[in-house]
Symmetry: C3
């Protein structure tokens, strides 16, 4: 077990050549396993049917570059794995600039950014380049070289089950397929890893945790195709962990249903910790909630994010590097998700055991004389108790009385110990 | 079948002396029947009980005028049928100006407008006159002459049933009792006639159509008293067609329930085609929705209108003439109702046949590589599919994803053909 | 029976040394009984268990004062019963100013106000004094003297049951424990007394009335512990009558549920009579609704108030004296509660007996000719009828059509007499 930070974890895995399959993913999973030794790494063979999909051939890129007419090398894969379009077929050819242009991807609006492009399901090859560098290319013959390989291999993913008192599950999912992009989604990998570490360190927890590290889309679909029936029965709340590393904003992507326990908790946590947070529409979705919330699957999964995907200019470009995320950013994402999980762990339906208001004075819980109204603490206690009717959960009550759940933890324990609520 | 327009239809029927009974109504119905040969014209005899009401005696006015002291004739029925109070009893007398004044109706605020006044259920006679002309009347003896006739006749209405694949019905009702008033309600007659023509020209339609042309209030009550039981079972949506001819505004009068399929569709259509439309309260109702939505009848009937009744200064005056309506105005009313009917025809509850997102790439429905997000078309498709859970109708989904139903027609067909939804 | 006013009643009882038990309460109840001879005065012995509580010893204070070093007497109980902390233990001692200060209560922000302080459940003694007078106290020895007595006595309350046609009950509760404070709550006592007089004077009433005068908190708890089971079955609406005497504001404290008949009626009445009224949150509660609305009791009890408790600067100080309340203030509180009770008495679920609109003309209820729309009265009638579907109460309908219930009383009777509704 390393003694480093979430940021360091991002830093050390930044260069791994991740894709939806291949050795970059495996290397990433093995790195995570150093932190979470009980995590299992699974492989699903190429060609396996997963609902409407099929696990593709495994792709690995060993080397790639373009040699310019003047002999200089550009778009070197070893410099940045963003330079090669994901799942490019091999090529080793001499082409004119005109021909080359058909295989180049850049963003005119962001002249110094290398875009992130993939082509998983159409056979092609291509290079990603900054628009500025592209503009400077001269006429002449270019040597294009991609030493990539497709094979009947497998899709890799990590799965960690942490048993709790109940078989009901809290589900965490993050994706491991994006190459050198930091907020999207090394941040999600790092925060999920540290959340798992924290949960494993708890003396006891009520719920069982299902935590997975999968390639986006095909990975979550493949995983669901194996486990969706039991997950539908067991998962009471889940979070797709993504874009939790920058220090700019907080945001919330609802589940399709919009009103699940996960949604309620996410909104509760963010409204108290970061009331300026942005709420997206499910129509803006773009990550694995697309699968988890699809009709017939309908898992209660939402996302607590920092700057949401697609909504920051660095998104899917080389700008989303280690300078865009920060220790503070990661910590903020981590703390929010931790608070959400804690709220679920501590949520239940309290019911007063006493008709009318309890006599709190004789229990030392109430000021014995009243002048100028009660303190906020006493108001919270009285307000809390008046909704302990067995119909409102602690979370519901906290929303009604506008107090964060964590501020009432001790109070709830006390009231339980005093036999006032059950 | 004539080859003319809705406006021409209004023009040719403008002068017919319509009332709730009589030959003016029959002439109007026969004129409509030229366009809709399969429409049946029915007669309900005077004295027939209809719930709390009774079909009144049939009224016809043959001639009417006032001769002034100077021998000039005013308020001639043949000049404008608005001049005679509807259901005036016959009179042939010489009266002083003072006596005459008790029988004159004018609007001080609208000095050159002849008001539209009726007295169906109280025996009286009267003339409607512009306030300006009234002001100029001199002292003297006036000859008042109304050659009207009451007889045991009948109330006439037209009914057209267009069978569809289902016995479930879409109901259209318009009223034919107003004399020379254009927006209220020759426009409704013309638009309903052309909607019926359009429906009859369709190669096939899912629903059966019940289309009636009735005198307002007593006509709809008489019709309901015969058919309400089967209509309660069959009618899934209906529209009271009125005030659909001016080119100023669009508006919506809800059903009493406010949330029927007809209401949902009316709001969907207007919010996309004419987002500035006005929504009335059911408390502002004033036409046959009063009967269709009455307790115990409870049909899902609302109105899509241009300028709503009572809400334009021309309302119930001679100002509501052929210059107030226009080809564009009628077309706008027609198109909105047509869109509403089409939405109902094309509405159903789609359900994806595939768990998780379908692999659209292999079906050629999805761009094979992603850069800079998806096109609006692809977003619409993905958003549409994510709500195909069998619980949301296409209309519901279109409201959620904020797209007009007609923009998704081809997509829905494609997804059905591809076996993705059912 | 006296021939005086609510204000006079407050005036004559202002000085009675009320507390949660004792002779001041009994004197108050006997005074009320002069107005309501059929009211019963009950006693619950000290030590009686009431849910989580116990009726305390009976407390009476015979005499109390402080003698200053210069021989002058201050804080004399006979001058104002606010000077002695409620439930002070006896004392007869010489103390230094420093020692005395520990037993004095004043409000720096309100220098000339004597605060109202009690200490029911902690044994102590204390005096309440204006901050200004306190500031002027000189060093020296003070003689503190409280001749109070604790004994195994009883808690007193008044109960008046007025039988109606139904055993369903309307519940009124007011509290009688506050000493010389006028708005809080002599006003409540006076208004409740006069409401009871009015109800007893009615020729007949639909509901049975349960009206109680109890000490706050312990009194309502003690009462509930005896009667809660039958009250849960019978009480359809109730009001906690408090702070109804000043002439400044109107306000509404909801029940915990927030949507009971009592709440609906309170909001209906205030929105029409005093549309500027303030709505509190149940979180601001502070009187016996705390017990009536507690989980498991769940009575439909809310409050219609003038200036709400805790929300006027005079609250719980000597400023809340007879000059703060007024005849107009009390009358406004009384009229609002009377209107609320009348609305409940007159509320039922009307249903039209006729399909489609009734022919009102033949019954003389409808203008026989229409020009320029109908009068407001006719609109109200038609709007009322269109919601008489047996699913909406008269109160519901009045809320939909935005008319106060009392304006429709005659109409409802007429429609019933005409056999149009049942």
């Amino acid at each position: 077990m390393k003694n480093d930070s979430m940021y360091d974890l991002c830093w050390s895995m930044f260069k791994y050549p991740r894709s939806i399959t291949g050795d970059g993913v495996r290397k990433t999973l093995r790195h995570i396993k150093e932190y979470l030794p009980t995590m299992n790494i699974h492989e699903i063979p190429s060609g396996t049917k997963c609902f409407d999909w099929e696990v593709p051939k495994e792709w690995n890129c060993h080397r790639a570059y373009i040699t310019c007419p003047d002999g200089s090398k550009i778009c070197e894969f070893k410099v940045s794995n963003l330079h090669v379009v994901g799942y490019s077929v091999p090529v080793n050819d001499w082409v004119t600039l005109d021909e080359l242009q058909k295989h180049l991807y850049s963003i005119p609006d962001k002249p110094d950014a290398i875009p992130y492009v993939t082509s998983y399901y159409e056979e092609k090859w291509g290079f990603c380049i900054s628009d500025k560098e592209r503009d400077e290319l001269k006429e002449g013959l270019y040597h294009v070289y991609i030493d990539s390989e497709f094979k009947d291999g497998s899709l890799s993913y990590g799965e960690l089950i942490i048993p709790g008192d109940l078989s009901d599950e809290i589900f965490l999912s993050t994706y491991i397929c994006h190459p050198s992009l930091a907020n999207d989604n090394l941040s999600g990998i790092a925060v999920t890893t540290y959340l798992a570490k924290w949960i494993m360190g708890l003396s006891k927890q009520k719920y069982t945790y299902r935590i997975i590290f999968v390639p986006e889309t095909i990975g979550s679909i493949a995983y669901l195709s194996k486990y969706w029936k039991q997950m539908r029965q067991k998962v009471i709340a889940g979070f797709n962990v993504t874009c939790v590393g920058d220090n700019l904003n907080y945001s919330y992507m609802p589940s399709r249903n919009g009103n699940t326990l996960a949604d309620m908790v996410a909104q509760h946590v963010l409204s108290h910790l970061h009331p300026e947070y942005k709420t997206y529409s499910f129509l803006d979705r773009g990550s694995d909630e697309r699968q988890y919330c699809s009709p017939g699957i309908d898992l209660p999964v939402c996302s607590i994010m920092r700057s949401g995907y697609k909504d920051f200019p660095q998104y899917h470009t080389s700008w989303d590097d280690l300078s865009f995320i920060s220790r503070e950013g990661l910590q903020g994402g981590y703390e929010s998700l931790k608070a959400a999980i804690s709220c679920i762990e501590e949520n239940w339906y309290p019911k007063v055991k006493i008709l009318c208001e309890p006599q709190l004075g004789k229990r030392g819980l109430y000021p014995t004389r009243g002048i100028e109204g009660h303190s906020k603490k006493v108001r919270n206690m009285m307000n809390f108790l008046t909704y302990c009717d067995g119909l409102h959960s602690i979370l519901d009550i906290c929303n009604i009385i506008d107090v964060p759940m964590w501020e009432l933890s001790i109070l709830v324990e006390t009231l339980k110990d005093e036999g006032i609520i059950e």
